[in-house]
Subunit: 204 residues, 2 copies
């Protein structure tokens, strides 16, 4: 199986395939399929996609308050007066913020760290938006900081570090509960999750 | 797991995700990941991709001779005087043409059918570029028509139909050999392939 990305014809087609192959989840083979699909749907898909990419590339801003990506700065969440400014949810990246927003369960505001502390990858506190988080909390008005970080070693290390940094402020720092995923079967769960679920058991 | 494609913020971001999710091999979830990746690489990837899509959408032509997709009509293969016009390779679609071109093994010209005959899907000979194939052969100068169709029932039905249609012309009609894929293990082959390989056995 050849892994070359080139189509035999049309250098502009070749370069389109090469660019698409750089998206996560796409390789040279699926990029070629995508380009054939786009060419077949030139009016309905290819031209709208080109325009949407151009629009977003022009319009996107990183919110200087929370780190969210939006077409305005401050972002729609930071500007929305109906969002509860007293509850601040700390996430690793914008994808996590989107996941929480899709759930519709959280009506406070966010703070995007831009990653997690990682000794292996050489990511220190100064590489993340931790200073700006402490400054936001320091300004007052925030009652609770919810650490919605991934349940990985790096995520938990980061949560621990942030908790330390915020300990001098009169703010409640909480973290997402660990436990059995809803719909999950015990048989398929790892020991760590089982242990956490057992430890956090509650009366029914 | 939510299958909604919407990001919480920025309608232009949402519509970009929705468009990307329509590509084969991408769903709402991977389209969101792709958009986040694009936003992070705005200069290096997002803007070049927008331009490449626009360029290709403007430039692509379907070759009126062979059905290939290129930025010129006739396509680069039909225009290339070094390609052997006496050998014509018939393929189902442009993706198959690209696969053969990547191999670099065939130096003749192509004819893209645009699909296969299919009683189930109601695809008849008039829906495919079979009339134009017969016309190309009728003009003379072609010695051999190589049917490089998929080894499916529809592909083989189409091959049979084309062979019939071309039987009145002084042209050799051949098909790709069936057999054990190079590097393939007998244990994993289906009976049809084994039977074909056995039937076509040759002295060593």
């Amino acid at each position: 199986m050849s892994e070359k990305a080139d189509a035999p014809n049309g250098t502009s087609i070749e370069s389109l395939i090469r660019l698409l192959a750089r998206l996560p989840g796409l390789g040279p083979r699926s990029a070629r399929r995508a380009v054939l699909h786009l060419i077949r749907k030139r009016e309905a898909l290819m031209q709208p996609l080109a325009r949407a990419l151009e629009d977003v590339a022009q319009a996107i801003r990183v919110c200087t308050t929370c780190g969210n990506i939006d077409t305005t700065d401050p972002c729609a969440i930071c500007r929305d007066p109906r969002r509860d400014a007293a509850h601040l949810c700390v996430v690793e990246d914008v994808g996590d913020l989107w996941a929480l927003e899709r759930s519709g369960l959280f009506r406070g505001r966010y703070h995007v760290l831009g990653g997690t502390l990682s000794a292996l990858d050489g990511v220190g506190p100064e590489d993340l938006a931790i200073g700006s988080l402490v400054a936001r909390v320091g300004k007052g008005g925030i009652e609770e900081v919810i650490l919605a970080l991934n349940a990985t070693v790096d995520g938990q290390t980061t949560a621990h570090y942030i908790t330390e940094r915020l300990s001098e402020y009169p703010v409640r720092v909480t973290a997402l509960a660990h436990g059995v995923p809803v719909g999950g079967e015990l048989d398929y769960l790892d020991d760590g999750t089982l242990a956490a679920a057992l430890k956090a058991r509650h009366p029914v």
